[in-house]
Protein backbone atom coordinates (compact mmCIF):
# COMPACT_ATOMS: atom_id res chain seq x y z
CA UNK A 1 0.00 0.00 0.00
CA UNK A 2 2.83 2.35 0.87
CA UNK A 3 4.41 1.93 -2.54
CA UNK A 4 1.25 2.80 -4.43
CA UNK A 5 0.85 5.90 -2.25
CA UNK A 6 4.34 7.03 -3.15
CA UNK A 7 3.82 6.42 -6.83
CA UNK A 8 0.49 8.22 -6.90
CA UNK A 9 1.72 11.35 -5.14
CA UNK A 10 4.22 12.76 -7.65
CA UNK A 11 1.76 12.00 -10.45
CA UNK A 12 -0.87 14.12 -8.73
CA UNK A 13 1.53 17.02 -8.39
CA UNK A 14 2.23 17.11 -12.09
CA UNK A 15 -0.46 18.81 -14.09
CA UNK A 16 -2.81 16.52 -16.02
CA UNK A 17 -1.34 17.75 -19.30
CA UNK A 18 2.19 16.88 -18.27
CA UNK A 19 1.29 13.25 -17.44
CA UNK A 20 -0.59 12.94 -20.68
CA UNK A 21 2.50 13.82 -22.62
CA UNK A 22 4.70 11.11 -21.05
CA UNK A 23 2.82 7.99 -22.20
CA UNK A 24 1.54 7.59 -25.74
CA UNK A 25 -1.95 6.64 -26.85
CA UNK A 26 -4.19 9.06 -24.93
CA UNK A 27 -6.04 10.25 -28.01
CA UNK A 28 -6.34 6.80 -29.54
CA UNK A 29 -7.54 5.04 -26.39
CA UNK A 30 -9.93 7.87 -25.52
CA UNK A 31 -11.33 7.80 -29.04
CA UNK A 32 -11.83 4.04 -29.15
CA UNK A 33 -13.29 3.89 -25.63
CA UNK A 34 -15.73 6.74 -26.19
CA UNK A 35 -16.78 5.43 -29.59
CA UNK A 36 -17.36 1.94 -28.25
CA UNK A 37 -19.19 3.04 -25.08
CA UNK A 38 -21.40 5.46 -27.02
CA UNK A 39 -22.31 2.94 -29.68
CA UNK A 40 -22.68 -0.18 -27.57
CA UNK A 41 -23.93 1.22 -24.24
CA UNK A 42 -25.21 4.78 -24.38
CA UNK A 43 -27.07 4.79 -27.70
CA UNK A 44 -29.24 1.73 -26.94
CA UNK A 45 -29.92 2.88 -23.36
CA UNK A 46 -30.99 6.37 -24.37
CA UNK A 47 -33.10 4.77 -27.09
CA UNK A 48 -35.05 2.90 -24.41
CA UNK A 49 -35.69 6.01 -22.31
CA UNK A 50 -36.73 8.08 -25.32
CA UNK A 51 -39.14 5.32 -26.36
CA UNK A 52 -40.61 5.14 -22.87
CA UNK A 53 -40.84 8.95 -22.60
CA UNK A 54 -42.58 9.12 -25.97
CA UNK A 55 -45.59 7.13 -24.82
CA UNK A 56 -47.03 9.77 -22.50
CA UNK A 57 -47.22 9.76 -18.74
CA UNK A 58 -50.72 8.37 -18.37
CA UNK A 59 -50.17 5.35 -20.57
CA UNK A 60 -46.74 4.79 -19.04
CA UNK A 61 -48.23 4.81 -15.54
CA UNK A 62 -51.09 2.54 -16.61
CA UNK A 63 -48.68 -0.02 -18.04
CA UNK A 64 -46.21 -0.09 -15.17
CA UNK A 65 -48.95 -0.31 -12.48
CA UNK A 66 -50.81 -3.17 -14.13
CA UNK A 67 -51.66 -5.57 -11.25
CA UNK A 68 -49.87 -8.52 -12.86
CA UNK A 69 -46.74 -6.38 -13.34
CA UNK A 70 -46.93 -5.06 -9.77
CA UNK A 71 -47.17 -8.65 -8.51
CA UNK A 72 -44.02 -9.48 -10.48
CA UNK A 73 -42.14 -6.52 -8.88
CA UNK A 74 -43.03 -7.93 -5.47
CA UNK A 75 -42.10 -11.51 -6.30
CA UNK A 76 -38.78 -10.41 -7.82
CA UNK A 77 -37.82 -8.03 -5.01
CA UNK A 78 -38.74 -10.44 -2.20
CA UNK A 79 -37.01 -13.41 -3.83
CA UNK A 80 -33.90 -11.31 -4.56
CA UNK A 81 -33.86 -10.10 -0.96
CA UNK A 82 -34.14 -13.64 0.42
CA UNK A 83 -31.45 -14.89 -1.98
CA UNK A 84 -29.00 -12.12 -1.10
CA UNK A 85 -29.60 -12.55 2.66
CA UNK A 86 -28.80 -16.24 2.25
CA UNK A 87 -25.66 -15.30 0.33
CA UNK A 88 -24.57 -12.82 3.02
CA UNK A 89 -24.53 -15.65 5.59
CA UNK A 90 -23.20 -18.32 3.24
CA UNK A 91 -20.62 -15.95 1.73
CA UNK A 92 -19.32 -14.86 5.13
CA UNK A 93 -19.02 -18.51 6.20
CA UNK A 94 -17.19 -19.48 3.00
CA UNK A 95 -14.83 -16.49 3.13
CA UNK A 96 -14.04 -17.25 6.76
CA UNK A 97 -13.35 -20.93 6.17
CA UNK A 98 -11.27 -20.24 3.03
CA UNK A 99 -9.13 -17.55 4.68
CA UNK A 100 -8.75 -18.83 8.25
CA UNK A 101 -8.38 -22.59 7.96
CA UNK A 102 -6.13 -25.03 6.15
CA UNK A 103 -7.66 -28.35 5.14
CA UNK A 104 -7.44 -30.83 2.28
CA UNK A 105 -9.53 -29.84 -0.73
CA UNK A 106 -9.47 -26.15 0.15
CA UNK A 107 -8.19 -25.07 -3.27
CA UNK A 108 -10.97 -27.02 -4.97
CA UNK A 109 -13.56 -25.45 -2.70
CA UNK A 110 -12.15 -22.02 -3.49
CA UNK A 111 -12.16 -22.65 -7.24
CA UNK A 112 -15.72 -24.01 -7.38
CA UNK A 113 -17.07 -20.82 -5.73
CA UNK A 114 -16.91 -19.12 -9.14
CA UNK A 115 -18.92 -21.82 -10.90
CA UNK A 116 -22.17 -19.78 -10.96
CA UNK A 117 -20.40 -17.01 -12.93
CA UNK A 118 -18.92 -19.43 -15.44
CA UNK A 119 -21.93 -21.71 -15.93
CA UNK A 120 -24.53 -20.45 -18.43
CA UNK A 121 -27.74 -19.46 -16.67
CA UNK A 122 -29.92 -21.71 -18.84
CA UNK A 123 -27.81 -24.71 -17.84
CA UNK A 124 -28.08 -23.70 -14.18
CA UNK A 125 -31.84 -23.35 -14.68
CA UNK A 126 -32.53 -26.81 -16.09
CA UNK A 127 -30.10 -28.37 -13.60
CA UNK A 128 -31.77 -26.82 -10.56
CA UNK A 129 -35.23 -27.62 -11.96
CA UNK A 130 -34.18 -31.29 -12.34
CA UNK A 131 -32.61 -31.46 -8.87
CA UNK A 132 -35.68 -30.00 -7.17
CA UNK A 133 -38.33 -31.71 -9.30
CA UNK A 134 -40.73 -34.02 -7.43
CA UNK A 135 -38.68 -37.11 -8.34
CA UNK A 136 -35.33 -35.26 -8.42
CA UNK A 137 -32.30 -35.90 -6.19
CA UNK A 138 -33.36 -33.18 -3.73
CA UNK A 139 -37.04 -32.87 -4.56
CA UNK A 140 -37.99 -36.37 -3.40
CA UNK A 141 -36.60 -35.81 0.11
CA UNK A 142 -37.99 -32.31 0.39
CA UNK A 143 -41.41 -33.62 -0.68
CA UNK A 144 -41.36 -35.98 2.34
CA UNK A 145 -40.88 -32.93 4.52
CA UNK A 146 -43.73 -31.20 2.73
CA UNK A 147 -41.46 -28.61 1.09
CA UNK A 148 -42.06 -27.81 -2.56
CA UNK A 149 -39.36 -25.87 -4.36
CA UNK A 150 -39.85 -26.45 -8.08
CA UNK A 151 -42.60 -24.33 -9.64
CA UNK A 152 -43.03 -22.19 -6.51
CA UNK A 153 -41.58 -18.80 -5.47
CA UNK A 154 -39.10 -20.75 -3.33
CA UNK A 155 -37.64 -22.10 -6.58
CA UNK A 156 -37.00 -18.50 -7.68
CA UNK A 157 -35.07 -17.88 -4.45
CA UNK A 158 -32.97 -21.03 -5.03
CA UNK A 159 -32.13 -20.01 -8.61
CA UNK A 160 -31.23 -16.44 -7.61
CA UNK A 161 -29.15 -17.64 -4.66
CA UNK A 162 -27.23 -20.04 -6.90
CA UNK A 163 -26.42 -17.52 -9.63
CA UNK A 164 -25.15 -14.89 -7.16
CA UNK A 165 -23.09 -17.09 -4.81
CA UNK A 166 -19.66 -15.58 -5.65
CA UNK A 167 -20.44 -11.92 -4.83
CA UNK A 168 -20.23 -11.95 -1.01
CA UNK A 169 -17.46 -14.57 -0.86
CA UNK A 170 -15.26 -12.57 -3.23
CA UNK A 171 -15.83 -9.18 -1.57
CA UNK A 172 -15.28 -10.44 2.00
CA UNK A 173 -12.28 -12.69 1.26
CA UNK A 174 -9.69 -9.93 0.54
CA UNK A 175 -10.85 -7.82 3.51
CA UNK A 176 -10.53 -10.78 5.85
CA UNK A 177 -7.08 -11.56 4.45
CA UNK A 178 -5.79 -8.03 5.07
CA UNK A 179 -7.24 -7.71 8.56
CA UNK A 180 -4.46 -7.04 11.09
CA UNK A 181 -4.46 -9.69 13.84
CA UNK A 182 -3.30 -7.43 16.75
CA UNK A 183 -6.67 -6.27 18.11
CA UNK A 184 -8.12 -9.74 17.82
CA UNK A 185 -5.17 -11.42 19.56
CA UNK A 186 -5.07 -8.79 22.29
CA UNK A 187 -8.76 -9.26 23.03
CA UNK A 188 -8.40 -13.03 23.03
CA UNK A 189 -5.41 -12.94 25.39
CA UNK A 190 -7.43 -10.71 27.76
CA UNK A 191 -9.88 -13.58 28.00
CA UNK A 192 -12.76 -12.42 25.79
CA UNK A 193 -14.83 -15.22 24.27
CA UNK A 194 -14.74 -16.04 20.54
CA UNK A 195 -18.24 -14.70 20.08
CA UNK A 196 -17.49 -11.41 21.82
CA UNK A 197 -14.33 -10.80 19.82
CA UNK A 198 -16.13 -11.63 16.59
CA UNK A 199 -18.99 -9.29 17.43
CA UNK A 200 -16.90 -6.40 18.76
CA UNK A 201 -13.77 -6.52 16.61
CA UNK A 202 -14.14 -8.66 13.50
CA UNK A 203 -17.70 -7.95 12.43
CA UNK A 204 -17.33 -4.14 12.52
CA UNK A 205 -14.42 -4.53 10.09
CA UNK A 206 -16.20 -6.99 7.84
CA UNK A 207 -19.77 -5.76 7.53
CA UNK A 208 -19.16 -3.07 4.87
CA UNK A 209 -17.80 -5.78 2.58
CA UNK A 210 -20.73 -8.07 3.40
CA UNK A 211 -23.16 -5.25 2.54
CA UNK A 212 -21.33 -4.53 -0.73
CA UNK A 213 -21.43 -8.18 -1.74
CA UNK A 214 -25.05 -8.49 -0.65
CA UNK A 215 -26.03 -5.43 -2.71
CA UNK A 216 -24.23 -6.79 -5.78
CA UNK A 217 -25.98 -10.11 -5.29
CA UNK A 218 -29.34 -8.32 -4.92
CA UNK A 219 -28.80 -6.28 -8.10
CA UNK A 220 -27.85 -9.36 -10.06
CA UNK A 221 -30.84 -11.32 -8.72
CA UNK A 222 -33.32 -8.59 -9.69
CA UNK A 223 -32.43 -9.10 -13.34
CA UNK A 224 -31.93 -12.86 -13.33
CA UNK A 225 -33.85 -14.61 -16.08
CA UNK A 226 -32.27 -17.78 -17.48
CA UNK A 227 -31.82 -19.67 -14.24
CA UNK A 228 -35.20 -18.60 -12.87
CA UNK A 229 -37.67 -19.36 -15.65
CA UNK A 230 -37.05 -23.11 -15.68
CA UNK A 231 -37.72 -23.62 -11.99
CA UNK A 232 -40.24 -20.84 -11.29
CA UNK A 233 -43.37 -22.34 -12.84
CA UNK A 234 -44.13 -18.83 -14.14
CA UNK A 235 -47.76 -18.55 -13.04
CA UNK A 236 -49.15 -15.02 -13.29
CA UNK A 237 -49.40 -13.12 -9.95
CA UNK A 238 -47.51 -15.88 -8.10
CA UNK A 239 -44.19 -16.82 -9.63
CA UNK A 240 -43.48 -14.47 -12.53
CA UNK A 241 -40.29 -12.42 -12.26
CA UNK A 242 -40.01 -8.96 -13.80
CA UNK A 243 -37.64 -10.03 -16.59
CA UNK A 244 -40.15 -12.66 -17.66
CA UNK A 245 -42.90 -10.01 -17.57
CA UNK A 246 -40.94 -7.95 -20.13
CA UNK A 247 -40.50 -11.06 -22.23
CA UNK A 248 -44.23 -11.84 -22.07
CA UNK A 249 -45.10 -8.31 -23.26
CA UNK A 250 -42.61 -8.70 -26.11
CA UNK A 251 -44.20 -11.95 -27.21
CA UNK A 252 -47.55 -10.14 -27.28
CA UNK A 253 -45.86 -7.60 -29.61
CA UNK A 254 -46.68 -4.95 -27.01
CA UNK A 255 -43.44 -3.01 -27.49
CA UNK A 256 -44.56 0.13 -25.60
CA UNK A 257 -45.45 -1.91 -22.49
CA UNK A 258 -42.21 -3.89 -22.67
CA UNK A 259 -40.23 -0.64 -23.01
CA UNK A 260 -42.06 1.01 -20.11
CA UNK A 261 -41.43 -1.89 -17.73
CA UNK A 262 -37.85 -2.17 -18.96
CA UNK A 263 -37.34 1.57 -18.30
CA UNK A 264 -38.45 1.04 -14.69
CA UNK A 265 -36.12 -1.95 -14.28
CA UNK A 266 -33.26 -0.08 -15.95
CA UNK A 267 -33.72 2.96 -13.68
CA UNK A 268 -33.66 0.79 -10.56
CA UNK A 269 -30.55 -1.06 -11.83
CA UNK A 270 -28.69 2.18 -12.59
CA UNK A 271 -29.59 3.69 -9.20
CA UNK A 272 -28.42 0.52 -7.45
CA UNK A 273 -25.17 0.56 -9.41
CA UNK A 274 -24.63 4.21 -8.46
CA UNK A 275 -25.41 3.53 -4.79
CA UNK A 276 -23.00 0.58 -4.69
CA UNK A 277 -20.28 2.69 -6.30
CA UNK A 278 -20.72 5.57 -3.84
CA UNK A 279 -20.82 3.11 -0.94
CA UNK A 280 -17.65 1.36 -2.11
CA UNK A 281 -15.88 4.72 -2.59
CA UNK A 282 -16.64 5.77 1.00
CA UNK A 283 -15.82 2.42 2.43
CA UNK A 284 -12.52 2.17 0.55
CA UNK A 285 -11.52 5.62 1.78
CA UNK A 286 -12.16 4.45 5.33
CA UNK A 287 -10.10 1.36 4.72
CA UNK A 288 -7.12 3.42 3.58
CA UNK A 289 -7.49 5.84 6.47
CA UNK A 290 -8.66 8.80 4.34
Amino acid sequence: MATTDLSERPAKKLSAAATKRVLPGFGLSLGISLFFISLVLLLPISGLFIRAAGMGWEQFWFVITDPRVVASYKVTALAALAASLFNCVFGLLMAWVLVRYEFPGKRLLDAIMDLPFALPTAVAGITLATLFAENGWYGQYLADLGIEVAFTPLGIVVAMAFTSVPFVVRTVQPVLEELAPEDEEAAMSLGASDMTVFRKILFPALWPAVVTGGALSFARSLGEYGAVIFIAGNSPYISEVISLMIFVRLEEYDFPAASAIAAVVMTVSLLLLLAINVWQGRYLKRLHGG
Binding site: L41, P120, F162, D194
Partner: protein
Protein backbone atom coordinates in the same frame (compact mmCIF):
# COMPACT_ATOMS: atom_id res chain seq x y z
CA UNK B 1 6.18 -15.53 13.39
CA UNK B 2 4.81 -15.92 16.88
CA UNK B 3 1.21 -16.04 15.69
CA UNK B 4 0.99 -19.73 16.56
CA UNK B 5 1.22 -18.80 20.23
CA UNK B 6 -1.70 -16.37 20.07
CA UNK B 7 -5.17 -17.72 20.04
CA UNK B 8 -7.47 -16.27 17.38
CA UNK B 9 -11.23 -16.41 16.92
CA UNK B 10 -12.44 -19.84 15.79
CA UNK B 11 -9.21 -21.64 16.68
CA UNK B 12 -10.78 -24.23 18.92
CA UNK B 13 -11.04 -27.62 17.20
CA UNK B 14 -14.79 -27.86 17.76
CA UNK B 15 -15.57 -24.52 16.09
CA UNK B 16 -13.05 -25.21 13.34
CA UNK B 17 -14.48 -28.61 12.49
CA UNK B 18 -18.08 -27.43 12.64
CA UNK B 19 -17.47 -24.49 10.32
CA UNK B 20 -15.41 -26.47 7.80
CA UNK B 21 -17.98 -29.27 7.86
CA UNK B 22 -20.83 -26.85 7.32
CA UNK B 23 -19.01 -25.04 4.49
CA UNK B 24 -18.09 -28.25 2.71
CA UNK B 25 -21.60 -29.74 3.06
CA UNK B 26 -23.32 -26.61 1.76
CA UNK B 27 -20.87 -26.26 -1.15
CA UNK B 28 -21.33 -29.89 -2.13
CA UNK B 29 -25.12 -29.52 -2.07
CA UNK B 30 -25.25 -26.13 -3.74
CA UNK B 31 -22.41 -26.29 -6.28
CA UNK B 32 -20.91 -29.77 -6.71
CA UNK B 33 -24.09 -31.80 -7.03
CA UNK B 34 -25.57 -29.62 -9.80
CA UNK B 35 -22.35 -30.13 -11.75
CA UNK B 36 -22.47 -33.90 -11.20
CA UNK B 37 -26.13 -33.99 -12.21
CA UNK B 38 -25.39 -32.36 -15.59
CA UNK B 39 -22.98 -35.14 -16.56
CA UNK B 40 -25.08 -37.96 -15.08
CA UNK B 41 -28.12 -36.77 -17.03
CA UNK B 42 -26.09 -36.28 -20.20
CA UNK B 43 -24.97 -39.92 -20.11
CA UNK B 44 -28.31 -41.56 -19.14
CA UNK B 45 -28.43 -43.14 -22.59
CA UNK B 46 -24.82 -44.24 -22.42
CA UNK B 47 -21.84 -43.07 -24.44
CA UNK B 48 -23.48 -43.88 -27.80
CA UNK B 49 -26.61 -41.95 -26.81
CA UNK B 50 -24.47 -39.01 -25.73
CA UNK B 51 -22.61 -38.91 -29.03
CA UNK B 52 -25.77 -39.16 -31.09
CA UNK B 53 -27.34 -36.35 -29.03
CA UNK B 54 -24.36 -34.11 -29.69
CA UNK B 55 -24.31 -35.03 -33.39
CA UNK B 56 -27.97 -34.08 -33.75
CA UNK B 57 -28.28 -31.80 -36.80
CA UNK B 58 -29.70 -28.82 -34.90
CA UNK B 59 -27.37 -29.19 -31.92
CA UNK B 60 -24.36 -29.24 -34.26
CA UNK B 61 -25.64 -26.10 -35.97
CA UNK B 62 -26.11 -24.44 -32.59
CA UNK B 63 -22.54 -25.33 -31.64
CA UNK B 64 -21.28 -23.79 -34.90
CA UNK B 65 -23.28 -20.58 -34.46
CA UNK B 66 -22.14 -20.26 -30.84
CA UNK B 67 -18.50 -20.59 -31.92
CA UNK B 68 -18.97 -17.89 -34.58
CA UNK B 69 -20.55 -15.55 -32.01
CA UNK B 70 -17.66 -16.12 -29.59
CA UNK B 71 -15.05 -15.68 -32.35
CA UNK B 72 -16.50 -12.28 -33.26
CA UNK B 73 -17.28 -11.07 -29.75
CA UNK B 74 -14.13 -11.99 -27.86
CA UNK B 75 -11.53 -10.18 -30.06
CA UNK B 76 -13.71 -7.06 -30.20
CA UNK B 77 -14.07 -6.90 -26.42
CA UNK B 78 -10.41 -7.78 -25.97
CA UNK B 79 -9.29 -4.75 -27.99
CA UNK B 80 -11.83 -2.46 -26.34
CA UNK B 81 -10.98 -3.74 -22.84
CA UNK B 82 -7.26 -3.16 -23.27
CA UNK B 83 -7.72 0.37 -24.63
CA UNK B 84 -10.18 1.28 -21.87
CA UNK B 85 -7.90 -0.12 -19.16
CA UNK B 86 -4.93 1.77 -20.63
CA UNK B 87 -6.98 4.97 -20.73
CA UNK B 88 -8.29 4.91 -17.16
CA UNK B 89 -5.13 3.64 -15.49
CA UNK B 90 -2.46 5.56 -17.41
CA UNK B 91 -4.00 9.02 -17.74
CA UNK B 92 -5.83 11.43 -15.46
CA UNK B 93 -8.59 13.42 -17.06
CA UNK B 94 -12.03 14.71 -16.08
CA UNK B 95 -14.68 12.00 -16.37
CA UNK B 96 -12.25 9.16 -15.72
CA UNK B 97 -14.27 7.77 -12.78
CA UNK B 98 -17.50 8.11 -14.74
CA UNK B 99 -16.04 6.08 -17.59
CA UNK B 100 -14.98 3.33 -15.19
CA UNK B 101 -18.54 3.27 -13.77
CA UNK B 102 -20.26 3.26 -17.16
CA UNK B 103 -18.46 0.08 -18.08
CA UNK B 104 -20.20 -1.69 -15.16
CA UNK B 105 -23.67 -1.05 -16.62
CA UNK B 106 -23.94 -4.42 -18.42
CA UNK B 107 -23.36 -6.14 -15.05
CA UNK B 108 -26.32 -4.34 -13.54
CA UNK B 109 -28.76 -4.65 -16.44
CA UNK B 110 -31.11 -7.61 -16.74
CA UNK B 111 -30.21 -9.65 -19.84
CA UNK B 112 -33.78 -9.40 -21.11
CA UNK B 113 -33.59 -5.60 -20.89
CA UNK B 114 -30.25 -5.75 -22.72
CA UNK B 115 -31.85 -7.69 -25.56
CA UNK B 116 -34.80 -5.30 -25.66
CA UNK B 117 -32.46 -2.27 -25.98
CA UNK B 118 -31.12 -3.63 -29.25
CA UNK B 119 -34.51 -4.79 -30.50
CA UNK B 120 -35.93 -1.29 -29.99
CA UNK B 121 -33.09 0.38 -31.86
CA UNK B 122 -32.35 -2.09 -34.64
CA UNK B 123 -35.69 -3.93 -34.96
CA UNK B 124 -37.87 -3.41 -38.03
CA UNK B 125 -39.66 -0.43 -36.46
CA UNK B 126 -36.66 0.98 -34.59
CA UNK B 127 -34.86 4.16 -35.73
CA UNK B 128 -31.80 2.46 -37.12
CA UNK B 129 -33.71 -0.69 -38.10
CA UNK B 130 -36.14 1.20 -40.34
CA UNK B 131 -33.32 2.93 -42.13
CA UNK B 132 -31.40 -0.35 -42.58
CA UNK B 133 -34.63 -2.01 -43.75
CA UNK B 134 -34.67 0.27 -46.78
CA UNK B 135 -31.40 -1.34 -47.81
CA UNK B 136 -32.76 -4.83 -47.01
CA UNK B 137 -30.42 -5.25 -44.06
CA UNK B 138 -31.94 -7.15 -41.17
CA UNK B 139 -29.91 -7.33 -37.96
CA UNK B 140 -32.49 -8.60 -35.49
CA UNK B 141 -33.68 -12.23 -35.51
CA UNK B 142 -30.46 -13.17 -37.30
CA UNK B 143 -26.86 -13.73 -36.26
CA UNK B 144 -25.62 -10.10 -36.31
CA UNK B 145 -28.18 -9.22 -33.64
CA UNK B 146 -26.95 -12.11 -31.49
CA UNK B 147 -23.39 -10.86 -31.81
CA UNK B 148 -24.42 -7.29 -30.93
CA UNK B 149 -26.19 -8.21 -27.68
CA UNK B 150 -23.37 -10.58 -26.75
CA UNK B 151 -20.85 -7.76 -27.19
CA UNK B 152 -23.02 -5.61 -24.90
CA UNK B 153 -23.34 -8.25 -22.19
CA UNK B 154 -19.65 -9.25 -22.15
CA UNK B 155 -17.90 -5.91 -22.71
CA UNK B 156 -16.91 -5.27 -19.05
CA UNK B 157 -14.97 -8.46 -18.38
CA UNK B 158 -11.54 -7.76 -19.90
CA UNK B 159 -11.42 -4.18 -18.60
CA UNK B 160 -12.62 -5.28 -15.13
CA UNK B 161 -9.79 -7.81 -14.86
CA UNK B 162 -7.12 -5.39 -16.12
CA UNK B 163 -7.99 -2.11 -14.37
CA UNK B 164 -7.23 -3.11 -10.74
CA UNK B 165 -4.01 -4.85 -11.76
CA UNK B 166 -2.72 -2.02 -13.97
CA UNK B 167 -3.65 0.53 -11.29
CA UNK B 168 -1.65 -1.40 -8.74
CA UNK B 169 1.37 -1.77 -11.02
CA UNK B 170 1.57 1.95 -11.71
CA UNK B 171 3.05 3.55 -14.78
CA UNK B 172 6.75 3.92 -13.90
CA UNK B 173 7.90 1.01 -16.05
CA UNK B 174 6.11 2.35 -19.10
CA UNK B 175 7.39 5.86 -18.47
CA UNK B 176 10.91 4.48 -18.33
CA UNK B 177 10.23 2.74 -21.64
CA UNK B 178 9.19 6.04 -23.22
CA UNK B 179 12.31 7.78 -21.94
CA UNK B 180 14.37 5.00 -23.51
CA UNK B 181 12.66 5.71 -26.82
CA UNK B 182 10.13 2.88 -27.18
CA UNK B 183 7.25 3.36 -29.59
CA UNK B 184 3.66 2.89 -28.42
CA UNK B 185 3.38 -0.64 -29.75
CA UNK B 186 6.83 -1.67 -28.45
CA UNK B 187 5.87 -0.26 -25.06
CA UNK B 188 2.70 -2.31 -24.93
CA UNK B 189 4.23 -5.51 -26.22
CA UNK B 190 7.49 -5.44 -24.27
CA UNK B 191 6.53 -3.69 -21.01
CA UNK B 192 2.78 -3.77 -20.40
CA UNK B 193 1.80 -7.12 -21.90
CA UNK B 194 4.27 -9.27 -19.92
CA UNK B 195 2.91 -7.70 -16.72
CA UNK B 196 -0.77 -8.19 -17.48
CA UNK B 197 -0.78 -11.34 -19.60
CA UNK B 198 -2.29 -13.66 -16.98
CA UNK B 199 -5.07 -11.27 -16.02
CA UNK B 200 -5.66 -10.64 -19.72
CA UNK B 201 -5.89 -14.37 -20.36
CA UNK B 202 -8.44 -14.80 -17.59
CA UNK B 203 -10.42 -11.79 -18.87
CA UNK B 204 -10.54 -13.37 -22.33
CA UNK B 205 -11.55 -16.79 -20.99
CA UNK B 206 -14.29 -15.23 -18.87
CA UNK B 207 -15.54 -13.16 -21.82
CA UNK B 208 -15.62 -16.35 -23.86
CA UNK B 209 -17.52 -18.28 -21.17
CA UNK B 210 -20.15 -15.57 -20.94
CA UNK B 211 -20.33 -15.16 -24.72
CA UNK B 212 -21.06 -18.83 -25.38
CA UNK B 213 -23.46 -19.00 -22.44
CA UNK B 214 -25.56 -15.84 -22.82
CA UNK B 215 -29.22 -16.75 -22.74
CA UNK B 216 -31.68 -13.98 -21.80
CA UNK B 217 -30.41 -11.24 -24.11
CA UNK B 218 -29.87 -13.62 -27.01
CA UNK B 219 -33.32 -15.17 -26.69
CA UNK B 220 -34.92 -11.72 -27.13
CA UNK B 221 -33.16 -10.99 -30.42
CA UNK B 222 -32.71 -14.47 -31.86
CA UNK B 223 -36.19 -15.42 -32.99
CA UNK B 224 -35.37 -19.04 -32.04
CA UNK B 225 -35.28 -20.45 -35.56
CA UNK B 226 -34.09 -24.05 -35.27
CA UNK B 227 -31.01 -24.70 -37.37
CA UNK B 228 -30.65 -20.97 -38.11
CA UNK B 229 -30.53 -18.58 -35.16
CA UNK B 230 -30.35 -20.99 -32.24
CA UNK B 231 -27.25 -20.73 -30.10
CA UNK B 232 -26.27 -23.56 -27.77
CA UNK B 233 -28.04 -22.20 -24.65
CA UNK B 234 -31.21 -21.64 -26.70
CA UNK B 235 -30.90 -25.17 -28.05
CA UNK B 236 -30.68 -26.41 -24.44
CA UNK B 237 -33.97 -24.64 -23.72
CA UNK B 238 -35.67 -26.04 -26.82
CA UNK B 239 -34.58 -29.62 -26.12
CA UNK B 240 -35.64 -29.31 -22.49
CA UNK B 241 -39.07 -28.02 -23.50
CA UNK B 242 -39.37 -30.91 -25.97
CA UNK B 243 -38.89 -33.28 -22.97
CA UNK B 244 -35.62 -34.45 -24.53
CA UNK B 245 -33.81 -34.29 -21.19
CA UNK B 246 -30.81 -36.36 -22.26
CA UNK B 247 -30.33 -34.14 -25.33
CA UNK B 248 -30.66 -30.95 -23.28
CA UNK B 249 -28.10 -32.14 -20.74
CA UNK B 250 -25.75 -33.43 -23.45
CA UNK B 251 -25.70 -29.93 -24.94
CA UNK B 252 -25.38 -28.52 -21.40
CA UNK B 253 -22.39 -30.74 -20.70
CA UNK B 254 -20.43 -28.92 -23.43
CA UNK B 255 -21.22 -25.57 -21.80
CA UNK B 256 -20.40 -26.98 -18.36
CA UNK B 257 -17.08 -28.19 -19.80
CA UNK B 258 -16.27 -24.64 -20.92
CA UNK B 259 -17.22 -23.40 -17.45
CA UNK B 260 -14.86 -25.92 -15.83
CA UNK B 261 -12.00 -24.87 -18.13
CA UNK B 262 -12.71 -21.26 -17.10
CA UNK B 263 -12.38 -22.20 -13.41
CA UNK B 264 -9.13 -24.09 -14.02
CA UNK B 265 -7.63 -21.12 -15.91
CA UNK B 266 -8.65 -18.81 -13.08
CA UNK B 267 -6.98 -21.05 -10.51
CA UNK B 268 -3.77 -21.13 -12.59
CA UNK B 269 -3.80 -17.35 -13.06
CA UNK B 270 -4.25 -16.74 -9.33
CA UNK B 271 -1.48 -19.19 -8.51
CA UNK B 272 0.84 -17.40 -10.97
CA UNK B 273 -0.01 -13.98 -9.56
CA UNK B 274 0.49 -15.06 -5.96
CA UNK B 275 3.96 -16.35 -6.87
CA UNK B 276 4.99 -12.91 -8.17
Amino acid sequence: MKTRKHRRVGDSPLVRRTLIGLAVTLTVLLLFMPLVLIFVQAFTEGWAGYVSNILDEYTLHAIGLTLVVALLTVPLNLVFGVFLAWLVTRFRFPGRKLLATLIDIPFAVSPVVAGLLFLLLYGSNGWVGQWLGEYDIQLMFSWPGIVMVTVFVTCPFVARELIPLMQQQGREEEEAGVVLGASGWQLFRRVTLPNIRWALLYGVILTNARAVGEFGAVSVVSGNIRGETNTLPLQVELLYQDYNTAGAFAASSLLAGIALITLVVKAIVEWRQSRN
